[in-house]
Structures are given as C-alpha cells and as structure tokens.
C-alpha cells in the first residue's frame, strides 16, 4: 500500500472516533450535577429566574432535540455561543488556541533538546556514574509537582533576578518566546524525563541488535552507525510517545497555564466546566479531538516513513 492510500484510510478512521466523542461529551456534561443556570446565578437568582435562564438557553428542550441542534450546528461549522463568555464558541477557542499551541510546541522543542542528547549519552555509557546521575536528575524532575517547579522558577528567575516577566503571554512573536520560556521549560522538565527514559532504553535495545553489530562488523564508521541505524530505529517508539505527549499537552497544561497566567485552552476548559458552559465544553472537546486525531495521524505517517513495515498494516 502506498503512503497516500495509507493516509486516506487513516483519515477515514477518524470519522467514527469523532462521532463517538460527540455523543459521549454531550451526555457526559449533562450528567454533571448542576447546570449553566445554577452556575451562572448560583447565589442570586430566584427559582423563577433560573427557569427563565434555562428557557433562554434552550435547556428546557428534550435531550434528543438539544443533541440534534448540536450535531446540525457542528456540521455547519457553528459551535453555538459560549454561555460564560457571551461570544461565539469558535471565536473564543480561536483566541485561546494559539497560546496553548505555542506553549506545547515550545515545550516539546525543549524536551527534545534536553532529552535527546542526554538519552544517547546515558545509553552509550550504560550503568556508569554518568548514566546514573542523568537518570536521577530526571527522576527528580518527574516527581516534583509542576506548579511547584513553576513557582520556584517564577520566584527566583522572574521576581528576584528579573530575567523574565512574571507570567503573561505578550503580543508579538518575540514577546511570546520571552514570556513562554519559563512555562515551556517547566512543562519540558516533566516531558523530557519521560522521553529520555524511553529513548534511552530504545537506544540500548537497538545498539545490541544484530543489524547494528553487523554494521559494525562491516566496518562502518560509528557516526554512520549511530545516525543511520541506531537513531532511526530507536526513534520509532519515541515518536509514538511524543505524539501522545503533544496530545496531552495541548489540553493538559492547565496547571502551567494558571501559574504563569498563559491565556490558553487548558484554563478555558476548566472555566467552562466550572460554569457548566455546555456549548464551550463541547466545542473545546471537539477541538481537542480534531487536534489529537491530526497529531496521531502525523505520528503514524512519520512512523510509516521511519519503518516501512508499518505501511502494510
């Protein structure tokens, strides 16, 4: 099978995923106790006013009708109006998505820069003091809560030394780079630990593989062995992991976004849940589903490129 038809068959698989996500999220948000009217007017509205709000939001209609409207809207590219933000859901999400995307890519870049070289160093110096100290350092990074690392960085590097701004996002590309450096680093300390461990064990596995020993026996220079044979094969499982992490990070940098006041979608999702903002929660979940599907698709494509055996599957 060619890469192109592989691509299309993978693309088709996304559609049922998407439908299932829509049904589940629609039912799940409504299964939560409390509703948008309660969340909006919790300690203010009379019983009568709550009913008025529900009517205005169409929450008094039967579930199947609400679902019908939701599906119809999605297929016409309209995700409705956010109850909390009092603005169209698509607009609200598009405003917040860039910050999360920027932070995620920035963090992934950092993770690779940190984890890649160190994983090789650790693997090639297996069980020496070098390997042990690298692994211990990452273990500490992995087991320290993200908000704590974030606050430490903010307190020392930003508030005291004034090298960086205390949170925020900025307005230009360079400002984003500057403002998001500490949050990206915070996220990367965690992510790189996972990638490093995985990459290190893959490298160890590959280095011992027969084809590498064969390459070495052929007398190929170590540079080519490491670059062409070891790296490419060791990366296969790491790419999967990386894809999963990006998917997680896009929606899951909530703590980092809060501590560093980054206006991203993680924070938005939390606000939406606390406001029981059904349209916004649905819109965000769909957005995450699309993003994660795209990332997994790309992951699969990269893997297929790295490992031709996968294209047949």
């Amino acid at each position: 099978m060619s890469t192109i038809s592989y691509f299309f068959s993978r693309l088709l698989q996304i559609i049922p995923t998407f439908l299932i996500v829509m049904v589940i999220i629609f039912l799940l948000v409504r299964a939560l106790p409390g509703d948008p009217a309660i969340a909006m007017a919790d300690a203010k509205a009379t019983t009568e006013q709550l009913e008025q709000i529900r009517q205005r939001l169409g929450l008094d209609q039967p579930l199947w009708m609400q679902f019908g409207i939701f599906v119809k809207n999605v297929f016409t590219g309209n995700l409705g109006d956010s109850i909390l933000m009092k603005a169209p859901v698509t607009q609200v999400i598009l405003e917040r998505l860039p910050a999360s995307g920027f932070l995620t890519l920035y963090a992934v870049l950092f993770s690779l820069l940190i984890a890649g070289p160190l994983a090789f160093v650790a693997a090639l110096n297996r069980n020496t003091w070098l390997d042990t100290s690298i692994r211990t350092a990452f273990q500490v990074g992995l087991s320290t809560p993200v908000f704590y690392i974030g606050l430490l960085l903010l307190t020392f590097l930003a508030a005291q030394l004034r090298w960086f701004p205390v949170g925020g996002y900025g307005t230009t590309f360079l400002e984003h780079m500057y403002h998001l450096l500490l949050p990206a680093l915070t996220v990367a300390l965690y992510t790189s630990a996972i990638i490093m461990r995985n990459l290190r064990s893959s490298v160890i596995e590959v280095v011992d593989a027969e084809y590498v020993q064969f390459a070495r026996a052929k007398g190929l220079p170590e540079r080519i062995i490491l670059g062409r044979h070891v790296l490419r094969n060791a990366l296969i499982s790491t790419v999967t992991l990386l894809g999963l992490s990006i998917g997680n990070l896009m929606s899951g940098t909530l703590v980092t976004e809060t501590v560093f006041a980054v206006p991203g979608v993680g924070r938005l999702m939390l606000d939406a849940i606390f406001a029981r903002d059904y349209p916004l929660i649905q819109g965000l979940t769909l957005t995450f589903a699309v993003l994660v599907s795209i990332i997994f698709l790309l992951t699969d494509l990269i893997q297929a490129w790295l490992d031709p055996r996968l294209r047949v599957a």
Partner: protein
C-alpha cells in the same frame, strides 16, 4: 441644588482622608485581576468581574458615596420622590456627554431604564419590578411606579441602571440586544462613565482609556479621571499575582489571600488595603423535617441549630481562615456594612455550656452524624471543616465531609440535598432587601435553600418592600433580624474585607463595600 452641594461636601470629605498631596494627573495604572470580564454592560453583567467594573464605563443617575450607603447626585443633579411614593422625578445635569461626544439626554435614560427593567433581557429586572413606565421631557425624567418602592432611589445608584446610549445601540451591529451590547464593547465603545473600553483580549489584557467628556470634577477642579488609562491583566493564580506586584510589573493586585496579608503589610513598597465589604461567609442548614433521602433530619430542631452556633468559635475561625482580618457577624441576615443592619456585637458568641444545654434539651443523641458539604480545592473550606469537626465533637456531633464543585453545591442547595454547606454572599445593591430576600424570604429561593419558612418573617419582608416610612421600615428590619437570628437557619460565621495590595505610589483607589472597583479618583504619585 442642595443635592449638588451635598455631593461637593461629601467629595471633599472623602479626599480629606488622603494626605494633603497635590494630585498628579496622567499616566496609566496596571492592575492584576483574578479573573477576566466577559461583557461589561449594565444589564448583562452577571459575574462579579463584570459587575464590579460597570460603573467605570457607565455612569448612574445617582451615586453612592464610598461608604456605599449615602446616596448623592450622579448624571441627575437632583431627584424627588412623590408624596404617594408612586413616582420619582429626576433632573439631568446640563451638558453631560457620552464618550463619543454626543449629549446624554432623556431618551437615553428612558432607553436604559426600560432595558434594565425588561425581564426578557436583564437578569436584574426583578430588582426594578416596581417600574411601570419611564418618560422624559427635556432634561426631566419621570419614573412611574406600580407600587411605592423604598428601594428605587438606591436602585438608581446601582450598576444595572447605569446609562447607555440609545443611538449607539440603534447603530450597533447585531440582531439581539446582547449582540449589540457585545458589538459596542468590541467595535466601537460608547459609554457614560469616567473610562472607556479601548481594547480587550479575552483572558489576557483589557485596556481602559479616560473618557474626555466625563463630567465629574476632581479635587483640582478639572474633570475626572486623573489617569489616562488602566491596563487590566488577568492573573488567576494568587501567588503569581503577588509576585507580579512584588516584581513591580503591576501597580495593584486584587484578592490577596488573607494568609499573605501580614507579609505584604510589612513590605514598604506595598500598601496593603483591607476595604470594608458586604461580604459574609455563612453556611445554610437544611431545616426540613426529613432529608432528601427520606431519613429524619435532626437539624429541623431549632435547638440543635442554635447549639451548633454556640459551639462554633467564630473568633477562632476568623483567626484561622482570615488571619484576624475579619469579624464574626453581628447580624445573621446581612453584613454590618449594609443599611439597617442590627449591630449589637457578635451573635452566638462561643458558649460551650449553652450549646451542651441546648443539645440536651433537643434530645440529640451523642455521636449524631451530620455532613458538611464544602468546595473541593478550597483551602478556606478545608480549614473550616477541620475546625468545626473539632469544635462540634465537644457536643457529641460527628461531622462528615462531602467535597463538591461550585455548580454541584448550587444544585444541592436548590434541591435540599445537604445538611450544612459553606456559602458566601456580597450585596449587589446596598438596600438590605436583596440580601434579606435571598437569606430569609421563603418564596425567593426557600430561604437560601434551607427550607426555613417563617410566616411572620415573610409578611414583614413583604410589608417592608412597600414601606416608605424609613423609621417603620427600620423597625421591620430590626424585627426580621431578631426572628432570623433566633431561628438560626444558618451557621452564622464571619464578614471579610476585600484585600487589595497596591504599589505605595497608588493613591485614591477604592473598592466599595459592594465590590465595585473605583478608579475615577485614582492617581499615581511619582
């Protein structure tokens, strides 16, 4: 004219609190907020981050002083309530203008008040249910009422009756009134307050600029505001907001956790302000005979509720939760800063013997289990829980816990599926009718979900809502508070101030007891 003079005297009195420094004009302030505004419009403001900003952008016909109680002139230079209480006449000031330079006229007032009292549009319309019709003739505005309403004057000094431009709404893009309001906020702001919206990047930055056509004068005889503008940054995390202030990146930070107040008070570069508020923390008690699951509810017995109140050391709670920056409530029904609040010192002062006697009278067996529903993730609630567990174990109450999020707690309050749960309140209006209606009047929301239904209280409340004689109304309120305190449908707890930390060069900033952020008279001393 008398009113105008009153306003001037009062304004002078307010500023005399500020050391006699020459006011400096210009510059802009950067202020860190805990949450962003969504839509700052008099009628669509339904969350505190919106409500508390409205009067910076839209002026009201009348205003309240910094104490939040005294009514003074606003866009209207005078007002007159008819003898029979059936109408209010107001005279608009000469030469007042919207931020786009167009005059503020009778038709704008008619439009604004009609819009504000339309129940299909405004969630606050219930507060204006006495309004029958609003008409204007030149600069005279007449509000015809369908019944005498002792709260109407205060309502005209409240954010939801602030004046918007009828022409701007007519010209704005959008089908519905809300879409038009949104479009005015984003595409072309027109307002009547001291500031105007310059830009708003949701979740990050909101910028206000000075309204060049604002009427009210500052201490130097020039129109307010003193500053050229304000930048609001959204910093949801408490610790980050404080760091941002300490690093000098912002000039002010709101909602300082009380645990950090002492540390910031010691900082010479920071002016730690604790503004008196109408915020009360209390816990509704389910007073129904049976619980939602059908089991018998021991809390239906008033004596047990009183015993719990006596067994709760409120001073200890104030120390534990607020580090002393607050006080136990002196009226069960409202904060002491509210009009007509009874204040004879704290109610239900800690008295273990009384609590034990009451619990014996009620015949509540030792080891009776009650459940306290608290907000998951709230540090304050966690402290309250462990304190109450210890305090109440003294009278043989075994306190369990249930942790939920805000909307779940709200839903439980409405359905009565709770024993006791933590809650809070801030007045939006300084007339006590709003808070008394919410906490005690059964038809509003079952007396804050407690199910407490007292006929005498209800009829007093109804009578007080049409009582035009201030003395009689005060008597009714005194009686209502007595009934309420005795019946104890709540665990009465404490009042808290608003904690705002400002850079020491910021002068004249006020957060009113209602929570409104007042920046018009704020200036920066360089």
């Amino acid at each position: 004219m008398k009113k105008l003079l009153m306003a001037t005297v009062a304004a002078a009195a307010m500023f005399s609190a500020v050391p006699s420094m020459a006011i400096e004009r210009g510059g802009s302030l950067t202020f860190a907020r805990y949450d962003d505004s969504t839509l700052i419009d008099p009628i669509y403001a339904d969350r505190n981050p919106d409500i508390w900003m409205v009067t910076n952008l839209y002026d009201t016909l009348l205003r309240t002083e910094a104490d939040g109680k005294t009514v003074t002139s606003g866009l209207a230079e005078s007002y007159d309530v008819a003898e029979d209480g059936q109408s209010v006449t107001l005279t608009l000031r000469d030469g007042i203008k919207f931020s786009d330079g167009t005059p503020i006229e009778g038709k704008d007032v008619v439009f604004s008040l009609t819009r504000a009292s339309d129940a299909d549009l405004s969630p606050w319309a219930g507060l204006l249910s006495s309004i029958d019709e609003v008409t204007a003739d030149g600069n005279q505005v007449t509000i015809k009422l369908n019944r005498p309403d002792p709260t109407i004057v205060l309502m005209l000094a409240t954010f939801n009756t602030a004046i918007v431009s009828a022409d701007a709404f007519e010209a704005a893009n959008g089908e519905t009134d809300q879409e038009k309001a949104q479009s005015i906020a984003i595409d072309g702001f027109v307002g009547s307050g001291p500031f105007m919206m310059k830009s708003h990047q949701r979740g990050t930055l909101m910028q206000f600029g000075a309204n060049p056509h604002y009427w009210r004068e500052g201490e130097d005889g020039e129109p307010l505001p003193y500053m050229d503008g304000i930048n609001f940054l959204v910093i949801p995390d408490d610790a980050t907001r404080i760091l941002k202030l300490q690093a000098g990146e912002v000039d002010g930070a709101e909602f300082i956790p009380f645990a950090r107040v002492g540390e910031l008070e010691a900082d010479q570069n920071i002016n730690m302000e604790l503004f008196p508020s109408t915020r009360i923390i209390y816990s509704p008690i389910n007073t129904r005979e049976t619980r939602a699951d059908g089991s018998a509810n021991p809390l239906a017995d008033m004596k047990l509720r009183q015993a719990l109140n006596y067994a709760t050391d409120k001073n200890a709670l104030v120390q534990l939760v607020l580090q002393g920056a607050g006080k136990p409530v002196s009226s069960g029904l409202m904060a002491s800063t509210t009009q007509l609040a009874t204040d004879n010192g704290p109610i239900y002062q800690y008295d273990l013997d009384k609590a034990k006697a009451l619990i014996a009278e009620a015949g509540v067996p030792d080891g009776t289990e009650l459940t306290l529903t608290i907000l998951a993730g709230s540090a304050d609630d966690a402290i309250i829980l462990s304190a109450l567990q210890q305090m109440w174990s003294q009278i043989g109450i075994d306190l369990n816990v249930e942790q939920v999020d805000g909307p779940t707690r709200g839903a439980k309050n409405r359905s009565g599926e709770f024993d006791i749960h933590t809650y809070g309140w801030v007045n939006d209006v300084n007339d006590p009718a709003q808070v008394a209606g919410w906490l005690g009047y059964y038809p509003t929301a079952k007396a804050v979900g407690t199910g407490w239904n007292n006929e005498e209280f209800n009829s007093l409340y109804e009578a007080s809502n049409v009582e035009m004689d201030p003395a009689k109304r005060a008597e009714q309120y005194a009686r209502m508070q007595d009934i309420y305190n005795e019946a104890a449908p709540l665990l009465f707890m404490y009042e808290t101030p608003f904690a705002v930390a400002l850079s020491s060069d910021v002068q004249g900033y006020v957060q009113t007891p209602l929570g409104n952020n007042e920046f018009a008279s704020t200036w920066i001393d360089r």
